[in-house]
Amino acid sequence: MRVAVITFPGSNCDDDCHHVFGDVLGKETISVWHREVSLPTGLDVVVLPGGFSYGDYLRTGAIARFSRIMPAVANFARDGGTVIGICNGFQILCEAGLLPGALIRNRSLRFICETVSIRCETTGSILTQKLQVGQVLRVPIAHAEGCYQLDEGGLQRLEDEGQVLFRYCAPDGTVDPAANPNGSKRSIAGVMNAGRNVFGMMPHPERISEHVLGGVDGRALLEGLVGI
């Protein structure tokens, strides 16, 4: 099992991801600079971490998607490799067209840094295979552009195909507008592609995978990704 964490200029969660996959989960983890044109061989998982790649210029993720490494990431995904984008990584995957939708400025126009509740919507993915549908996780978010947008037809396709991974919810699991921190359509906090091998989520599971950091609600997700 080999994991690669891509660092873009402005990534700031790359070390956290490297630490969790490498030190906490004990998997061989390789850092990859965005100017590389190929991924390491024998790779199982590619992680696009959070941060502010290219200063969020133009739109979040809009410049990073043209990084030299991205064609290799797209090929890896097309061949069935597991790719996860967390926060800015989710924004990059949407801009690259590897995930449906787009993420725009929060409804409040504010940067939100807090712990929220999210509800698992499907167990039909390696990311969520260790959870149960309806299970509530407490996970940190930290973003200014996390408001998920997609046209109604696209949203319906996501729902019909079971591609919604998580929704923001109240602590008891109720999905209501008051528990939606950023205005996302249908309270969506994470989605996957139709092939069920590319994942994007705004909350940060890597920040809540050790007891010393306040909990392990995110750990089951990352364990699922690397087959623990």
Binding site: L58, A102, I104, S108, C147, D151, E152, G183
Partner: protein
């Protein structure tokens, strides 16, 4: 040549900036403002020697300057 490009959030997309500006104008007393949309204006200085400026600018918009999932664009190319 100059390309003048306007990128706007699509009608069905939430525009929190526009909503904040509308509320600001209302508090200044401009009650007649029913709705505000805030977009982006981009100007490109183009080398005259490249043909097909119009179609190239359109492709630039589609590839980078606008995200058609959430935005519409319009442009003119001037001598």
């Amino acid at each position: 040549m100059k390309a003048k490009i306007i990128v706007m959030p699509r009608k069905e997309v939430l525009d929190p900036q526009g909503e904040a500006v509308r509320s600001g104008l209302h508090s200044l007393g401009y009650e007649e403002v029913a709705a505000v949309r805030v977009g982006r204006y981009v100007e490109l200085d183009l080398d005259d020697s490249v043909p097909d400026a119009e179609s190239r600018v359109k492709t630039m918009c589609q590839q980078l300057l606008a995200n058609e999932v959430i935005e519409d664009f319009d442009f003119i190319v001037e001598p």
